[in-house]
């Protein structure tokens, strides 16, 4: 029996949230927004 869509989505977001690879670019993105704010 296949997993429900909701269950699959929850698994997917859990996998992303616990993946360090996600938080590195996310932190850099925040840093970039900060720099842009200082430059304008």
């Amino acid at each position: 029996m296949s997993m429900s869509k909701g269950h699959r989505s929850r698994n997917m977001f859990h996998a992303i949230a616990t993946d360090l690879h996600f938080w590195i670019p996310f932190a850099v993105l925040l840093g970039g927004l900060f720099l842009l704010d200082k430059l304008r």
Binding site: M12, A15, I16, I24, P25, V28, G31, L35, L39, R40
Partner: protein, 430 residues
């Protein structure tokens, strides 16, 4: 993967990297045609409109959007990664506008191209790139990286002569910030391609992040009403900016294929040969550095050459079969974490069709390369919009060398044709 196939894909990735360099380099040229009175944020927003149109219409033209649906079914998590990368691209692109304004095209380019150093670092640390590569390849990559850093430093020193007084530091900061964002943006790229996604699918979601971020930035920085007035006032230059965005997308697409087939530690330095193309456009077409002393020319030319030599050294250190096997380990890890079918991941890495998808035809039309009504609509709307904007466009009174501009454009088109043909023959744009 058979050794001959691996060699073919490596050569293809390297070729894509060089084609990317030409198109990414040419993309910044139209910005120089724009009146400096327009806010950089608005300039960036208009460019992103062009980028958005290109990122949907080019995949529709090349393979049709049915393939995008299939990729999303196989690896839905990559939508999140693509959107994140798109957000980063938008912020980095806005920073480059500040950089170009403050230190000039020929200086800003090499500075943000230090993103390749970061790409090598992330590739090694997170995706097993350069593992079991042997000392010669390590020397090529590290030696190349040191060369590129030296070249960037030389150009940063030259910026003190070229930039408006007091603006050099801001320009250098903006360019380096863009480099860090772009260097880190390759993490999502590599995640996607290790898991087998097609670059043409990745960019369609990537651009959602771009346009949402850019619109949010523009509205919050400028205010909705002033922004609207500025957009209306900019209609005579809108074509040039959107053209810049369109050209950028073609370069970025080649860069994505390079990243897919040779990894980020090699793909990024190769596409960073855009710095040489930027230099050619800046010096020959826009007469940048005119009136500068011999020392300035020596610094800029020497710095650029050093960076290019570094990139070539890295490019020549292509992956061995053993290193490629360690990429496969990273791909398996990704597949397991996100529950992606092993066959889909392997087929993606090898640039071949996924039997389960194409034989069973999951949502794909009978002819996998057939276009749907949506595809033709996307192509038609984009073409119509660009044609309308071209009619409204005005060429600003700026001293440009038209002969050089035509020559460089022809060279870019020749690279586009040959590289696209190679991609089609080898992978059918997979």
């Amino acid at each position: 993967m058979p050794a001959t196939r691996l060699r073919t894909l490596q050569a293809l990735g390297i070729f894509c990297g060089f084609a990317a360099g030409a198109w990414l380099g040419g993309a910044e040229a139209p910005i120089k045609l724009v009146n400096p009175d327009i806010s950089p944020i608005t300039v960036s927003l208009i460019m992103v409109f062009g980028v958005f149109l290109a990122r949907w219409s080019v995949p529709a033209f090349v393979r049709g959007t049915s393939h995008v649906r299939n990729d999303v079914r196989q690896a839905p998590h990559l939508i999140v990664w693509a959107v994140l990368a798109g957000c980063m691209w938008a912020v980095a692109n806005t920073l480059t506008i500040y950089a170009i304004r403050n230190v000039g095209l020929s200086i800003a380019f090499p500075l943000w191209n230090t993103n390749s150093l970061l790409g090598i670092f992330w590739g090694f640390l997170l995706f097993n790139e350069l593992h079991y590569a042997g000392w010669k390849r390590w020397l090529g990559v590290l030696g190349g990286a040191v060369c590129m850093f030296g070249g960037a430093t030389l150009l940063a020193i030259a910026s003190a002569h070229q930039a408006t007084p007091g603006k050099a530091t801001l320009g250098v900061l903006a360019a380096l910030g863009a480099g860090i964002l772009w260097g880190t943006m390759y993490i999502p790229y590599r995640k996607a391609y290790l898991t087998g996604m097609n670059p043409l699918s990745f960019i369609t979601f990537f651009t959602v992040g771009e346009i949402v971020t850019m619109t949010g930035l523009a509205v919050s920085y400028r205010g909705a009403t002033p922004l609207w007035h500025e957009l209306v006032g900019a209609k005579s230059v809108m074509f040039w900016l959107m053209l810049g965005g369109f050209v950028w997308v073609i370069g970025d697409l080649f860069q994505q294929y390079a990243t897919k087939y040779v990894g980020i530690s090699r793909g990024i330095p190769l596409s960073n040969t855009n710095q040489l193309w930027g230099l050619l456009w800046g010096i020959f077409v826009f007469h940048e550095l005119r009136g500068g002393g011999q020392t300035l020319y020596a610094q800029v030319a020497g710095g650029s050459l050093l960076m290019a030599l570094g990139a070539v050294a890295i490019a020549l250190s292509s992956a061995t079969a053993r290193e490629h096997a360690s990429w496969q380990d990273a791909a398996d890890r990704e597949g397991q974490r996100y529950g992606v079918e092993g066959e889909y991941v392997r087929a993606g890495m090898e640039g071949r069709a996924t039997p389960s998808a194409e034989i069973q035809g999951r949502g794909l039309p009978a002819d996998p390369n057939a276009r749907t009504l949506l595809d033709w609509l996307l192509i038609l709307v984009t073409t119509g919009l660009f044609a309308t904007l071209a009619v409204m466009a005005r060429l600003p009174h700026i001293d440009i060398a038209l002969g050089w501009a035509i020559a460089l454009t022809m060279a870019m088109l020749a690279l586009l044709a040959t590289c696209a043909a190679a991609l089609w023959r080898t992978t059918r744009f997979r």
